[in-house]
Structure formats: structure tokens, C-alpha cells
Amino acid sequence: MTMLDIERLRGDFPVLDQVKVNGRDLVYLDNAASSQMPRQVIDRIARYQSLEHANIHRGVHHLSDAATTAYESARSSVRRFINAAEDREVIFTSGTTDAINLVAHGWGRACVGEGDEIILSEVEHHANIVPWQMLCEEKGARIRVIPVDDRGELDLVAYASLFNERTRLVGIAHVSNALGTVNPVREMIATAHAHGVPVLVDGAQAVAHEVVDVQALDCDFYAFSGHKLYGPTGIGILYGRAALLERMRPFKGGGDMILSVSFEKTTYNIIPHKFEAGTPPIMPAVGLGAAVEYLSGLGLAKVAAWEQSLLAYGTERLSAIQGVRIIGTARHKAAVISFNIADVHPHDVGSLLNDEGIAVRTGHHCAQPVMKRYGVPATVRASFAFYNTRAEVDTLAGAVDKIRRLFE
């Protein structure tokens, strides 16, 4: 396998060389929050919006055909990207949160009842906790939690013991946004299926960083966002197994999701359109299509290999600094390093790193149960993309050491 030419690829991202922070080069290490967009995606969006835009699935005119083709081609690109069996299993949503809420409403309200149970992990993002809590509150169901160990790995023995005849769904993150742990979702899905329980995977932190094959995983639902995948905000995907989607109720009603409407009865459209009420975010969808084509062109295996080398180097450099504690030391991690410097509050660290041009996320990362588990109010999180370099890791490590000395 040839390596990626990182210096050349960095040229695809205008922000990386055009934006200076405090007179310094930008070191963008907040990719788990939102990644930057390559000019291939920016150009595709501009071309669509300049020359191909009209409403979709409606008009008989040239532009409506062009827009429909662009939108549906994006769906096909995403289908190939995650290796779904059919285009109709790929639903456009506004993001991961929207995708999970769609399942909670469309599937959960029909299939979860009083006394039923939903299994979630202790490392979930709030987006994969709160929709299920709302459902449980409404239905009188309850959440069971898979515990995580000190390294950030889920306890699979405890997980297996959580199943009973009331278990209706398992919801797990493919990759923990706060710790970087890559959960063994394939194995966990097999366990759930042995009990006849479907699984929703929150793939927001995974799809841009490793090969995801929804058929190989055998998952029932897989949710992710465009903007963590070098695409735009406002667009995301819910993959669902066709048989499940067919039975699932629509969540939003409106145009485009119907076959016929009268005041007596409405017949819903077929999947995926049943779940895409109203005019969808066409331009972001087209952008997402371009983003997954861009990433596929690079090759996810090469992307993963480079990011893993950055993770190893970053972990080595940061852990060598006195007082630095890395939170999340699972054996299998994505390129996310959550850490704290002695007693220095992450917000102070974040502000001081910004002085050096370094962008990181600081806070609880919308994963307060994780913060509680490790006894910290917040962490500093450096999250890498394929366009990051070893030199940027050096800049980070140097700045962290400087901050440690300032607060000594």
C-alpha cells in the first residue's frame, strides 16, 4: 500500500494555508467536532448551486432533473461508501442527532413499550442518550448501561448479561467521541442478534477514519454526519436495513413523503422518500456525495494508517510531558487524544493553545457520563484528520509543555 502524500493533500484545504491565528499557522486538531472541507467539495457545491439547482422529484424541466440526478447520485455515492445493499436504505437526515431521533420516533415509538429495555453504553454522546431517555419516559421503558473500564473499553461480559426478554434495542457508538475508543461493534452486534435484538450504531466518529461496511458489520441502523466527513453541515445519514425501514413509521409528515393525500387517508411514499418530508437540504447532500467520493479516492485504509501513526506519535509525545494524563487508553483507538495537564482547567489550556494557532476542543464533549466516570469535569481533546502532520503534533506537544510550566 502506497502512503498518502500529505503535503500535497493539504493543498486541497484552503483553510490550512490561508488562515493564520495570532500570526501563526493554523494547527487544526478539532476534527472530531467538525472537519475542514477540501476544494473538491467546495467546488462541487458551487457548481451545483450555480448551474444545477431547482427543487427535486417534482418538476419536468431540465433543472429539476439535474437537481434530482445530483441528489440521488449523492445517495448512491454514500451507499457505495458504506457498502449498503441498496440506495433506498440510505436516508438523508440533517445529521447524526436527527438520524437517531428518527429511529427513536419512527421505530422506537412503535416497538418499545412499558417495561421494555434499551441497552446503551457508558461512552455514548448525548445524542445517543437523550432521544432514548425521552422515549423511555414516554413509554415507561428503561435504559440499561454497558459499563466502561479504566482504559475506556466496554465490559463485554457485563454487556452480554444485560439482555433479557424485555430488551428491544442496543445503541452503541462505533467510536467514542470523548475517549477515541473503537468499540468492537461487529462482535457486539452478533451478541445482540443472538438475542434477536436490533442494533443502532452511532458512526459519527468512525466513518471518516476507517472503512465502514454496514453489511459486514451486520448492523440494523447506522447514523453519521456530513460535516465530520469533510462535507457540509446540515446533512447526515441514517442507514437502515430495508426490512426495518419498511415497517418503520415516518416521523415528519409533508410533501415528498407521500404517494397520495386526501383528507380521509394518506398513503406514504416508499423508502427512502417516506422519511424525507419536504424539500431536503439538496446542496448539502450533493456536497456530502462529493466528500465521500473524495475520501474513497484517497482510500480509507490509507487514511486510517496515517491517522494511526499520528495517534501513536501524539500519545508518545504527550505522555512524555510531566503532569499530562491521557483519558482513554483503549487498545483500539481512533486518532483522538483526550487529556488534562495536572490541575490546569481545560479551558485555560484551550485558550493558551489558541495563542499558538492550535485548535482543540475543550469541555465535556457532550458526554457528561464519560467525564463523571473518569472523575474530570472536562478534558482537552486533540482529534486528528489525515491532513495533520507529525510537525503539528510537535507544535502541540511544545505548547502543552509551555502551559504546564506556566501553571507550575
Binding site: 481545560p346 479551558h347 493558551l352 489558541n354 475543550t362 472536562a378
Partner: protein
């Protein structure tokens, strides 16, 4: 502006050795302040005697800016009347948002070390939280936050 300029020795010192840190045994007034954005969380106890702040104490989990602000605030308002303390709350709020009058600047004395915070919008709330909490304690509100109506920088979260 570089935030480094804000982390001057006086702020680092108050962060390392916060003054009036801990809880009072029998406070007459108390409040709890939370900044949900960053998780700053402080408890403030006051003992008022004849409308004067006789004793003040705070504790909690917060960043250096918030802790130093609370520490310096506690030193400055101790022995002051409720009326004076209220005026200082107003003055500090104005300072942190770059709207302090010349008179307010004079009143604030060494608290002017926080002046640079106005150029770091994401950190204004950290500095202001102790002052909001003081205001809440003085006016018998048991909890306060830097969000909503009290937000010094609306939309900055």
C-alpha cells in the same frame, strides 16, 4: 489578542492560592453559580452584618480565570456594603464587556487586570460568573447561571 497576556502573575497567583477559599459555617446568604458551557461551578457563602459583607467564602471547580476572579472579588468586596458591592458587580460586568466608564475603571482598582478578557469573548463568562453569583447571593437568588437573560455576551455559547 493572545490570551497569554491575561494569564499574568497576579491571576496565576490567585489561581494557585485562592483567597477566602472554602465554606462559611453559618452564612446568612448563599448562592451557586454555573457556567454550563465549560462546567465552571462555584459556591459562594456570605455573612452579612448590618448590610455589610463581614465574611465571604467560595469554593468550586473552575478554570483559572474564574477562580482568580472569584478570589480577587472576595478580597475586594469584604468589608463593603451591599450597595457598594452591587456597584462593583455592575462595574466588573462593564469592564469584562469593554463598556466601563472612566469612573468605573477607577473604582475597580486592581481588578482592571481582567480588562483584556473583553477581547476573548469565549472567556468573558468565566470572569463574570463569580460576580453574578455574588449578585444572586446578595439578592437571595439561590442559583445563577451565565446563560439566558443574564448572559453578558448573548449568543457566545
Amino acid at each position: 489578542m493572545e490570551s497569554r497576556q491575561l494569564y499574568q502573575e497576579v491571576i496565576l497567583d490567585h489561581n494557585r492560592k485562592p483567597r477566602n477559599y472554602g465554606r462559611l459555617e453559618s452564612p446568612t446568604h448563599h448562592s451557586e453559580g454555573v457556567n454550563p458551557l465549560c462546567g465552571d461551578h462555584i459556591f459562594l457563602d456570605l455573612a452579612l452584618e448590618a448590610q455589610t459583607i463581614a465574611r465571604i467564602s467560595f469554593e468550586g471547580q473552575s478554570c483559572a480565570i474564574c477562580k482568580a476572579s472569584a478570589s480577587m472579588m472576595s478580597s475586594v468586596v469584604k468589608g463593603r456594603s451591599v450597595l457598594e458591592a452591587d456597584r462593583m458587580v455592575e462595574g466588573f460586568r462593564a469592564l469584562a464587556t469593554g463598556q466601563a466608564s472612566a469612573e468605573q475603571m477607577t473604582d475597580l482598582g486592581r481588578l482592571r487586570v481582567f480588562e483584556g478578557i473583553k477581547d476573548l469573548p469565549s472567556r468573558v463568562k468565566c470572569a463574570v460568573l463569580p460576580w453574578h453569583t455574588l449578585h444572586a447571593a446578595l439578592h437571595a437568588e439561590s442559583a445563577t447561571t451565565t446563560e439566558g437573560d443574564a448572559d453578558p455576551v448573548p449568543g457566545s455559547a
